[in-house]
């Protein structure tokens, strides 16, 4: 535990940690010493020698005062240590997270990191308090144990043999509880997801389903959760009671041995009673120990989760970064996959500087992945990605991201004004430049709708704006950034007519004089691209202009015809089938 603390608090706070540990240990030692001094004192007192007893009060008082001072210092250093550690953790995680490859942030991990920043970190920092309790619960009995051994080995033996027994019982109880707890947690998690499903599916369950909104899987999951909860209770009881039983047996052993010695040997009753009191106090911290152990496990789990994030490797930075040339993009025999499942399999594509290239292809073909490799959210498994003539791995990531503007599908806006969000493109931009970008991306039309115009807030994640409006803000951001390369993922969902027109106009603005790599879902929007690359099976299956690809009559032509047909679709009910069964 203490080793973990040393590892995680960071080098800067080692001094503080030492001070904390020393004062905690001194406090625990002083408590142990006070108990130890009790034996001669009590022996004298019970033996009727009050004068001698009074003398023993002096070292006892000294131990108590030392304890007070140590406790005060322990409180201060624990506070400083927690505070420093907390700050350092926030700093480290914050700085690390922004340097992680973007591929790391899938939905599940995002949620986990968010929790980590909240309760996870508070829990981790509680380690300090718990360590304090732990040291007390170990060191004080240890000191008492030493006194016992010195004062009377027989009582000491009776007390000390119980220690391994108690600890073993604790460990066993823990294992039993862990098992039932895991089953119970799993049942609870299942019930939770069924519940979310149940709520989300209410319209379907009631208006289409025939079960009056009820959900059989949810009922089953709730029953299973109840069953596991009961099983956990029953399973945990023996464990909990065994711990108690072990401590009580130890107490009994001390009592019996003490009694046997007192009735059958040389030891005076006064001394015997004093030793008995000491033995009983030796046992008392064990109950605390069980609680602390549980708490520490929770803390350790939190620390491990934090550690796992901090140990996730960031993308390596070049030691000697190369400058970027003219903004061309080259992918050369690129291979890449997620979790070992290959997705791109020898993809080669040249995007000349100043041109527009459209990426099309079936969903899951890896179109988005190509743009993410260009922006170096991941590194390739094999092959190279060059931007401006330089391997992206040899370019300082700040330089690369300066050269590239990203407009992705699920645009995330920060809770601030529209203006703030556009300004992220170039933090030093003048208000006039921001307004100009807003106008060119047709964001001014969005602003008109809002009471505060560009100064209107967009809400968390931009939820006060529609999807099309959010994308226009992202385009404005890219326009303001004025990066030579734009990576654009067109929205898949149907935009309403107004937004569609505005987005197209904004994209036309963005195209001026830049290198554009566009992921297109609707082919109509990329007809005028300089080249269209059809991605299929992890490679470029077809490459050419719209006219060339139509003439080739391959996949692109088929996709085009299908989308043209879809566009001309009319919804009618005259399929000639009579209603009813």
């Amino acid at each position: 535990m203490i080793a973990t603390l040393f590892r995680v608090v960071g080098r800067g706070h080692r001094g503080l940690l030492w001070r904390f540990l020393v004062s905690t240990a001194v406090y625990a030692l002083s408590e142990g010493a006070a108990f130890g001094l009790l034996v001669p004192l009590l022996t004298a007192l019970l033996g009727g020698r009050t004068g001698t007893a009074a003398w023993w009060l002096m070292p006892l008082a000294a131990a108590v005062v030392v304890g007070w001072v140590a406790h005060y210092d322990m409180g201060i250093s624990a506070l400083r240590l927690s505070s420093a550690w907390r700050r350092s953790l926030y700093g480290r995680i914050g700085a690390h997270v922004v340097r992680l490859p973007l591929g790391w942030f899938d939905g599940a991990r995002t949620g986990r990191v968010e929790r980590l920043f909240g309760h996870g970190l508070d829990t981790a920092v509680q380690t300090v308090t718990l360590t304090q309790t732990l040291i007390n619960a170990v060191v004080t009995p240890a000191v008492i144990g030493v006194f016992l051994v010195v004062l009377d080995w027989r009582i000491a033996l009776a007390v000390l043999v119980t220690v391994p027994v108690v600890l073993l019982v604790f460990a066993y109880a823990r294992r039993v509880t862990d098992r039932t707890e895991a089953a119970s947690d799993a049942a609870a998690a299942e019930a939770g997801t069924r519940l979310v499903e149940f709520a989300a599916a209410q319209p379907v369950l009631r208006a289409i389903g025939r079960g009056r909104g009820a959900s059989r899987p949810l009922d089953d999951a709730l029953d299973a959760r109840h069953r596991e909860a009961r099983r956990e209770v029953v399973g945990a009881l023996p464990g909990l009671q065994l711990g108690r039983l072990a401590i009580q047996l130890a107490f009994t052993a001390v009592l019996v041995v003490g009694l046997l010695l007192a009735t059958g040997s040389d030891i005076t009753p006064a001394r015997m009673i004093a030793l008995l009191v000491l033995g009983i106090h030796f046992l008392q911290p064990f109950a605390t120990l069980a609680g602390v152990a549980g708490g520490l496990r929770v803390c350790r789990a939190a620390i491990e989760r934090i550690d796992a994030v901090l140990r996730t490797p960031v993308l390596p930075e070049p030691v000697r970064p190369r400058p970027l040339g003219p903004p061309a993009i080259d992918l050369d025999d690129v291979r890449f996959g997620y979790d070992g499942v290959p997705l791109l399999d020898g993809l080669t594509l040249h995007v000349p500087a100043g041109s527009t290239t459209a990426l099309v292809g079936p969903s899951g073909a890896g179109k988005t992945t190509v743009t993410k490799l260009v922006a170096r959210f991941f590194d390739t498994d094999a092959g190279t990605v060059r931007v401006g003539g330089a391997d992206v791995r040899d370019v300082a990531s700040a330089d690369l991201l300066d050269a590239v503007a990203l407009v992705f599908q699920d645009v995330y806006l920060f809770d601030g004004t529209i203006e703030d969000n556009i300004r992220m493109g170039r933090p030093g931009a003048t208000p006039a430049a921001v307004r100009d970008a807003a106008r060119r991306a047709r964001v001014d039309l969005v602003a008109e709708r809002l009471p505060d115009g560009l100064a209107g807030r967009v809400g968390d994640g931009g939820r006060l704006l529609s999807g099309g409006e959010r994308q226009r803000v992202a385009i404005a951001r890219a326009l303001l950034k004025d990066a030579p390369i734009v990576l654009l993922d067109e929205a898949t969902s149907a935009l309403d007519a107004e937004n569609e027109a505005a987005v197209h106009a904004a994209l036309a603005e963005l195209r001026q004089g830049r290198t554009l790599l566009v992921i297109a879902h609707r082919l109509r929007t990329v007809m005028r691209a300089d080249q269209i690359a059809v991605l299929d099976g992890g490679r470029i299956a077809e490459l050419g202009t719209h006219a060339e690809l139509l003439a080739a009559d391959g996949r692109y032509a088929a996709l085009w015809r299908s989308q043209q047909r879809a566009r001309g679709w009319r919804l009618t009910n005259d399929a000639g089938r009579p209603a009813g069964r």
Binding site: V196, G213, V234, L259, P269, R565, R577, A579
Partner: protein, 620 residues
């Protein structure tokens, strides 16, 4: 009148009150029995010092017996209370789920899943402490010190008062701290909320953060001094790159400032308020601790005991009683304080649970009127001056009237916000009109049993909901008795049969576990489900046809199969799609601005014509 949180908690706990009380009683008794072995040690000492050797073992065995009884009582208390808690949790979750299944569908609009989960799962779980622990723990925290204190008073009132004074002083300090801790608690909560919001923003917006600054401070290692003569190329040579040099990473890490600005500020603030809250108590806490630390009480009772013994006020052995029973007195009261947060959380949770249980259920017809035709036959649907406004809000539909004759196609068009979707939701009875009526075959839908209504009107919602069940069960939701052949038939009609057969276990494949479907595929499964429901009237959103460009054509084929032969009400966004409709209702600000067929409306040159031309331009 609204119930207080405490009343809510008491009310929710009622079903297990008896068991909880019995368990608490057992725990209190067990705590009281805990005094017996310690008293036994004192009495043994008394006999030994008095030179008495008889009856010693009887006392020892009494102590052991008390232990055994205590163990039994603890087991009973823990078992009874925790099983009661588990039972109560299930009872409450079932009640909540039943209540949810009866809330108006409108209640579920706008992402309540998180709230449902919080209440049914987390809030019910938060009652655990109040049910399984609080009564017993509180009883024990009072009974323990009272029994021990009474014994000590009996043994020696002077020493008892002295010990009591020390504990009382520490207790007073503690109560003062508790009162004062309420004040920074608000600041901590606010700082924590901001921290968590900024963390969410940081993580969710990470792509933006990366692409638009925020990383530069931490990320640009100043590497000019390292190996200036190294050859610039050779991209694969490992020594050329390094994870940012460790010393530098550490240095950056020590400042929260290396993280993006809002997060860094929030983290600093949170750390500051935490420190501040702790710092103001550090002296008091040390003082309180110093007063009641075991060593202090030990010094107090031995010191006073020695003095009193010298004065002849106290028998020396009485000091032993205080050493065994007095040292832990303060700690026994502590659970009352450490459990305060849990108690408050349980009360708040109980309040939220009760609020949800108190939500008014959806309106049901007291005396359902039967529809004049069996489910298979189409009935005319009539909108008669339908008005709707949200509770406390302004009216959004101001009298919509229309007739949907069997077998016709009606389209609802209009600018966004005109009320198209609201009208669709009224038909599905997410809410009921606040004025006018919707009639099916001449019967007000509010007077129709919902199950019967839904056998006549089907819906294809734009948000596809598939359950984590087999594909078959997902489709058969509309008709659990449908045979496999029928399910496969509708799947084939919805152009999804082949895809389903390709899944790992075909129709038995559990969606979301064994396979994920693309947007367009999920849509077709939901179309198959609606096909199976086979209602003569269908309300659908036209955007469904264009939601997934990769499989638009397939979805459209499925929709065509679904629409065949039914009375349709189409909520339309793209006008060309519904150009062939029998009637088009053009909504504007909650009113029917125009109605008619496409050609007539175009010729009329009104709102519809304007919308049409705007869309044609956008498409060009």
């Amino acid at each position: 009148m609204t119930a207080t949180a405490a009343e809510d908690l008491a009310e929710l706990r009622r079903p297990v009150r008896g068991r909880v009380t019995v368990a608490a009683g057992a725990q209190v008794l067990a705590t009281a029995l805990g005094v017996v072995p310690l008293v036994a040690v004192v009495e043994l000492g008394r006999r030994l010092l008095g030179g008495q050797t008889s009856g010693l073992w009887a006392i020892a065995w009494l102590a052991v017996g008390a232990f055994a009884a205590r163990l039994v009582l603890y087991t009973l208390a823990g078992g009874i209370s925790h099983l009661a808690d588990a039972d109560l949790a299930r009872t409450l979750r079932r009640r909540l789920v039943r209540a949810l299944a009866e809330l108006p569908l409108g209640w579920f609009a706008g992402g309540v899943a998180a709230r449902v989960k919080t209440t049914v799962e987390d809030d019910v779980a938060a009652l655990h402490h109040a049910v399984a622990h609080a009564p017993g723990d509180m009883g024990a925290a009072i009974a323990g010190p009272v029994v021990a204190g009474a014994y000590l008073l009996y043994v020696d009132w002077r020493l008892a008062l002295l010990t009591g004074a020390a504990i009382g002083a520490a207790q007073a300090t503690r109560m003062r701290m508790v009162r004062r801790s309420a004040e920074p608690a608000g600041r901590i909560a606010a700082a924590r909320a901001e921290l968590s919001a900024s963390a969410i923003e940081l993580v969710r917006g990470i792509a933006v953060v990366k692409a638009f600054g925020g990383t530069r401070a931490a990320e640009r290692p100043d590497a000019t001094d390292e190996r200036p003569d190294a050859p610039p190329e050779r991209p694969d040579a490992p020594p050329e790159r390094a994870d940012a040099p460790p010393e530098r990473a550490d240095a950056a890490a020590e400042r929260v400032g290396a993280a993006p600005a809002r997060f860094a500020a929030a983290a600093e603030r949170y750390a500051d308020v935490n420190d501040e809250a702790q710092r103001i108590f550090i002296r008091q806490r040390s003082l309180a601790r110093a007063t009641v630390a075991p060593a202090t009480i030990l010094l107090l009772v031995t010191g006073a005991g020695t003095w009193f013994a010298a004065l002849g006020w106290t028998r020396p052995l009485d000091v032993v009683a205080f050493l065994l029973l007095g040292l832990g007195l303060f700690e026994q009261i502590t659970p009352i304080y450490t459990a305060r947060d849990q108690r408050r959380r349980a009360r708040d949770a109980a309040h939220r649970i009760s609020e949800l249980l108190r939500e008014p259920p959806e309106a049901t017809a007291a005396h359902p009127v039967a529809l004049p035709a069996p489910a298979g036959r189409a009935l005319p649907l009539e909108l008669d001056d339908v008005r709707f406004g949200y509770a406390g809000g302004h009216e959004v539909l101001h009298g919509i009237s229309a007739e949907l004759a069997p077998g016709t196609v009606t389209a609802l068009v209009g600018p966004s916000g005109a009320g198209k979707s609201t009208l669709g939701l009224l038909l599905a009875r997410f809410s009921d009109p606040t004025g006018g009526a919707i009639r099916l075959g001449g019967v007000d839908v509010r007077d129709v049993d919902r199950a019967e209504l839904y056998r006549h009107i089907g819906f294809l919602f734009q948000d596809v909901v598939l359950l984590r069940q087999s594909v078959r069960d997902n489709i058969a939701l509309a008709d659990p008795d449908a045979g496999d052949a029928r399910v496969e038939e509708v799947a084939a009609a919805a152009a999804i049969d082949a895809r389903i057969r390709d899944l790992p276990r075909g129709y038995a494949t559990v969606l979301g576990e064994e396979a994920e479907l693309s947007g367009g595929e999920a849509q077709r499964v939901s179309i198959a489900r609606t096909l199976l429901a086979d209602t003569p009237i269908l309300v659908l959103d036209e955007a469904t046809a264009f939601a997934d460009p990769e499989s638009e054509a397939a979805v459209q084929d499925a929709l065509a199969a679904l629409a065949g032969g039914r009375t349709l009400l189409v909520i339309a966004h793209r006008l060309p799609t519904i150009a062939h409709a029998d009637q088009i209702l053009v909504l504007d600000e909650g009113r029917v601005a125009e109605r008619g067929r496409h050609d007539d409306l175009l010729a009329a040159g009104g709102l519809y014509a304007r919308l049409w031309h705007a869309q044609q331009e956008a498409a060009a």
